[in-house]
Symmetry: D3
Subunit: 143 residues, 6 copies
């Protein structure tokens, strides 16, 4: 089992806010991350595929194709966007890093599994909101 990772970047605005709760609850819970005028980040996204290399190519997945899938499914929809307002697949989700990695995983899974060699599959999605705050989602067991 070999793990192949592709790293990408995007910039976006967001705000942590739960619309089912009061203004006060949101302010107390999320502090300055609740600012109604938004703030933003240079997100770093790492997508990891696990599998066995194709003996003809030596590839678990063609990183050029993986790059294109990440661009189409994530970057084109999130880069220079407002994650609360403008990304259809994030509708109704509070855009914490925890929720983002899970949503990104689900968004990427089918396309990646279709093109990865043989039984290779999407393994992890990792997101750096800042250099110091990081979330990772790896739902499948490590084999």
């Amino acid at each position: 089992m070999i793990y192949v990772t592709r790293k990408s970047h995007f910039n976006a605005a967001h705000r942590l806010h739960n619309p089912n709760k009061s203004e006060e609850w949101n302010k107390t819970t999320f502090g300055k991350c609740n600012n109604p005028n938004w703030h933003g980040h240079n997100y770093i996204l790492e997508v990891t595929v696990a599998g066995v290399p194709d003996p003809d190519t030596g590839y678990v997945i063609d990183l050029g194709i993986l790059k294109k899938i990440i661009e189409e499914k994530i970057l084109d929809k999130c880069d220079h966007k407002n994650l609360n307002l403008e990304v259809p697949f994030l509708k109704g989700i509070i855009p914490t890093s925890e929720n983002l990695v899970k949503a990104f995983f689900q968004e990427l899974e089918d396309d990646i599994n279709r093109v990865a060699f043989d039984t290779s599959t999407l393994y992890c999605v990792k997101l750096f909101e800042t250099e110091r705050n990081i979330a990772e989602y790896c739902p499948n067991p490590r084999i």
Copy 2:
């Protein structure tokens, strides 16, 4: 002449938009940076002071004091904020990195020059909007 630099971080939302121009001009000129729903960055800020070290302390400037000035004059006002809407000293300025470094320099200059040793003075302000896009303002000659 010794150059001392302090590096800081802040996150903010912004949008490139010139209110004196048409929507179309703005869209053509600034592209996705003109998105009316904002986007944002993890800015990295480097502030450089030039001078001769105090023989008693070996300091051109006490970096703890420099850190506090940067926090009070820049970070507290810009971190988790909207640079177009919420920062008084940026009022009327299109928040490109070029304009930000100049505004930050002017905001920092008096306080830093007052506490720096002897003839030491603020020399440069450098801003990384992303890891790949950087602006620097150094108005005084290199001696």
Copy 3:
């Protein structure tokens, strides 16, 4: 299961030395790391919590609270200190990175598990002694 990581820094002096062994054994075993006049590092500490996000907040753990726990339990005790002489919870421990990550894990575990959402728990402690020398302690199985 989502993994959330907070990255911190501290600077400290240390020395690798086993007081139950001879000077010669120490010198041969630890080389220049045994220098009796100490040396030091800019340590980078990564603390990872594993769990399920709280549906109200989208947080596995509030990173602001995690940051405060790391500050109180580790940084306040270790930053700008001598790890052999001044840190009570490191008493009797040779401060290799291996031993430090285990001691840091035990120091952090109770406080983090108490504030993390539901069944979320401290998962890993990782320490960069230098950019090139790294240790990690993850005693619980990956679920």
Copy 4:
């Protein structure tokens, strides 16, 4: 179980090419990575050993000895070399990152397991071909 990692660098030329396939297949499959005049990388190599620290030294493995093994078995053979033409243990292998991490693991395994404390063993080999393209091989289960 504690994981200890040593990070190294080397520079090398390579080319992705499967000699059992046609020129056209190679060009289509590997694109500019198939350039017959070669291209190259600053590879970053991370070698991770898993084990229990020796109570006398606090070491899972002496990182000075690990460094020497990596130098002898990998860096001396690969640094400033052509990975397709000049490295005996890579003979017949298409030098994708996936194939390189597996070959490096096999090259390192015996020497590392011999010197690591007690039951400590080589756990993972990770290779950064670029900052954005990464492969990792961890054949043994995480205990």
Copy 5:
């Protein structure tokens, strides 16, 4: 005067070799960098333009246009290429970092100066051959 920098990457093979000198001189002078089978690097290129921001846009130069010029004049010609054999504007040049930054500056100068605002001009080209070996060319005086 404001300095704006754009950072890019490319991978290439090269070899240090002076064809006017003997094999022995080349081997002694350039050591393993003279390897006839080539080696390679992940080059990082920083291009800096100095000028006054356009009051309408806040730009010294549109970084999207600067990016395109760097791609056309440098990256398309050098990425995944052999710098000794395949880059017309490097013909006859020993590809040390010193010689590369000068050649890159001359290649970029006209196009950049034409599109930069008003009197803004190309100021510096900086090249990281590795993280540790760096060259910079800044032929014009700092104003």
Copy 6:
């Protein structure tokens, strides 16, 4: 004029303390950096040489030779040492980054100027005490 930079690392213990001043003055002035039990850093050192490349080699200075000079004059004397107690050329100097860059420059100057091509000379010494605190000494005018 081309600027060539070599980056190095070393780890050391130090303490900010002026022996001509009272304990109280030292504690107030230097805070936790005055800790009598020392603290330490992973220093990053950048040494820059300015000059014209030798037409035969394309080198301003052979970086292998520059590396060796930095090792002999700085790293061998400072790495894994106590900068206040064990480095002869730092005797009587309060080891702030400002004072260190000046002392390192003077220590390196003669050897570097002797081996650099033609009129090439040592231009700058830059020291990162931490990722965020940096000092630079460039006594000669930029030509």
